[in-house]
């Protein structure tokens, strides 16, 4: 059992409690008001307080065995997958306006496909090509998304 697994419930409590604390601090500055005339801060502060309480409860009470759902563990993070998905989305954001829809789709699908070892470069390229053709037809011609297809070459 890794360190992460061992302290999973503590980390979960910390996350929820931390978000709650932030909501309380930030919410206070919006003005809490009174029960009759609530300010904008009332709800955030109340929610934040609730989250702090739940966070403490989570960290303090050992999780029931049912809470350890399979499919959520083992807690090994999937770095390859995570980076490829993140890179794919970032590439889409960077390319769609500047380089055009076709390069953006190709880069996005190609990068994402490489997130698993089972997919070869060739397969990723073919898949990306197929989705690009389909995507351009559907979104550029069908739904008229406001991107050039290939910037500077073909609008």
């Amino acid at each position: 059992m890794s360190l992460f697994d061992k302290h999973r419930e503590h980390l979960a409590g910390l996350l929820v409690g931390g978000i709650g604390a932030f909501a309380v601090l930030e919410g206070q500055s919006y003005g809490i008001g009174t029960l009759t005339a609530m300010g904008s801060g009332f709800f955030p502060v109340a929610l934040g307080a609730g989250m702090i309480a739940l966070g403490i409860l989570m960290a303090a009470v050992p999780a029931a065995p049912a809470a350890h759902l399979p499919g959520h563990g083992p807690s090994r993070l999937d770095w390859r997958g995570g980076l490829s998905i993140a890179a794919a989305v970032v590439l889409f954001i960077l390319l769609a306006n500047r380089a055009g829809l076709a390069p953006a789709i190709f880069a996005c699908v190609f990068t994402a496909a490489l997130g698993t070892r089972q997919t070869t470069l060739r397969e990723a390229a073919l898949l990306a090509l197929g989705v690009t053709v389909f995507g351009v037809l559907l979104f550029a011609y069908g739904l008229k998304v406001p991107f050039p297809i290939i910037a500077g070459v073909y609008a």
Binding site: A37, S40, V89
Partner: protein
């Protein structure tokens, strides 16, 4: 009853309009496909297609998005029975006896009985909705802000504690969802909340960005290297293989009827959706059987009953959503969000003020289920082929649809970045053992909850007793308290006794 029939007649006029009919077909077809494709979920599919519906008529949009939900139930059963893959939670329990039937060469019969169960279950669920939804709405008509507020409290608590996972974590996710819904300009005071000076956030977070991040990207991350490689099936199934024998029918029909009743009862309790219904139905069947040892080895009752209960619960799921405006689970929250994006105010007035939507939806359920049977029974061979599409080709394609879909919501690249952030956050939540579904419940109900809470206390001049003094509100608050108490008792017991639900049931 008579007004129901008149309403239904009106609904058929709406649903048979060719424009709506086509979108209903698209919805159930896509749903069926998503159900069959291992690794694709209903929530992410509805979120992906949500932006495409913004330019559609609200009726057509709702018919299509709902079609995805119940259509996926038909496909999900195929996946469970033939491949033993519990991709769709409501059908996880069908694996237990469905797959052994496949191994002994009776997979076709299992699918045939599933179709029968689907039709009977769905028909009952729809009729229940036709009768109950207008009735519930007519009662809820008189609710003032305190009642609405108390009812939402009950709905949110039930939705977050009765579903899978730890109740404490569920409730904290609901609170987080409400908190996320507050981002943007406060309509009561004009103050900006949690926007950090970012212009794009002053209108609040986009529903599509939140749900695609939490259910789309987080799902890809979870499954892309975690899903079992596709099991092979070289089964050739045709129309004839599906036909159950007289003996199968005699064995299968009573469980179907029992499952239907279980499902329709479950759908009336907020938070207990189709998944829980199917487990209860299976457990019941096993309990009353004279040969419980047959279960797990291909007992036809173990397929018939949970499938019927799933389908009747799926249709019944729409009852609180359409009659009260309070969704029981994340899928319903998303559909409700879609209606609100189209400018339709959910709540008890919906049935009277938007008869096209309510009765059109019900009529489309009848039509959609018939289309699904036609799609599945003669074309079963095609769906079996689709089972072979590997997930590693699906998720990159879906990711592209996520990017472009969330962009198209309001032509804002900012939202694509937000989706990535929500995806990473959702993945972290999964790793920490949270179930992100209640976030969506809180996110959709949050603004209405705050507004009604404010109004209640304004009317009562700041006295919280208004929630106990008014009898109907008090009943809702009372049930909520009972619900929490029951959870605490259950948690105390669980710490002593081991759990009973088989683990593979979840995902």
């Amino acid at each position: 009853m008579e007004s129901s029939l008149a309403g239904l007649a009106h609904g058929f006029q709406v649903a048979l309009d060719w424009h709506n009919l086509i979108w209903c077909f698209v919805g159930v077809f896509v749903g069926n496909m998503v159900g069959v494709l291992p690794g694709m979920g209903v929530l992410s599919t509805i979120s992906i297609l949500l932006p495409l519906t913004f330019s559609m008529q609200p009726v057509a949009a709702l018919l299509m998005l709902s079609g995805i939900y119940y259509g996926a139930q038909y496909g999900g059963a195929i996946c469970s029975i033939l491949l033993n893959l519990p991709c769709h939670p409501p059908h996880a329990v069908t694996c237990l006896d469905g797959y052994p039937m496949t191994k002994s060469g009776r997979g076709g019969v299992a699918l045939g009985i599933t179709m029968l169960a689907a039709v009977i279950g769905a028909a009952f669920g729809i009729m229940q909705m036709m009768v109950l939804a207008p009735y519930i709405a007519s009662i809820a008509f008189k609710f003032g802000p305190p009642e609405i507020c108390a009812l939402m409290l009950l709905g949110l608590l039930a939705g977050s504690t009765l579903a899978k996972g730890s109740p404490i974590k569920g409730v904290s996710m609901t609170l987080l969802g409400i908190l996320l819904s507050l981002v943007g300009t406060d309509i009561n005071t004009g103050n900006e909340r949690f926007t950090f000076g970012i212009l794009e956030m002053s209108d609040g977070l986009e529903l599509v960005a939140v749900s695609l991040g939490l259910f789309g990207i987080a799902e890809f991350l979870k499954s892309m290297n975690g899903l079992v490689p596709n099991a092979r099936t070289d089964m050739q199934l045709g129309f004839r293989d599906l036909r159950p024998s007289r003996r199968d029918l005699r064995q299968g029909i009573p469980p179907i009827l029992r499952g239907t009743v279980v499902g329709s009862l479950c759908s009336l309790i907020p938070g207990t959706g189709p998944t829980i219904a199917s487990f209860i139905a299976y457990a019941l069947e096993k309990k009353i059987s004279r040969h419980p040892e047959r279960f797990g080895h291909g007992a036809i009752e173990g397929v018939a009953s949970p499938e019927a209960s799933t389908h009747s619960a799926v249709q019944g799921d729409f009852i609180p959503t359409m009659s009260l405006g309070i969704p029981g689970d994340a899928v319903m929250a998303l559909l409700l969000g879609a209606l609100m994006i189209h400018g339709i105010q959910p709540g008890p007035r919906l049935i009277v003020e938007q008869p096209d939507i309510f009765w059109g939806l019900i009529a489309s359920f009848w039509i959609g289920n018939i289309i699904l049977v036609v799609l599945n029974v003669p074309m079963i061979g095609i769906w079996v082929k689709l089972l072979q599409v590997p997930y590693r080709f699906l998720y990159p394609t879906a990711l592209f649809f996520v990017c472009i879909g969330v962009y198209a919501t309001r032509n804002e690249m900012f939202d694509v970045g937000a989706v990535l952030l929500f995806g990473g956050f959702g993945y972290l939540l999964l790793k920490l053992g949270f179930e992100p579904a209640p976030i969506l419940l809180g996110f959709v109900l949050g603004p209405r909850l705050e507004e009604n809470f404010r109004r209640s206390l304004l009317l009562s001049r700041g006295s919280l007793e208004t929630f106990i003094d008014r009898p109907i509100a008090a009943v809702f608050v009372g049930i909520s308290v009972l619900l929490v108490a029951a959870q605490i008792v259950a948690a105390l017991r669980r710490s002593r006794a081991p759990i009973r639900i088989p683990e593979e049931a979840f995902d």
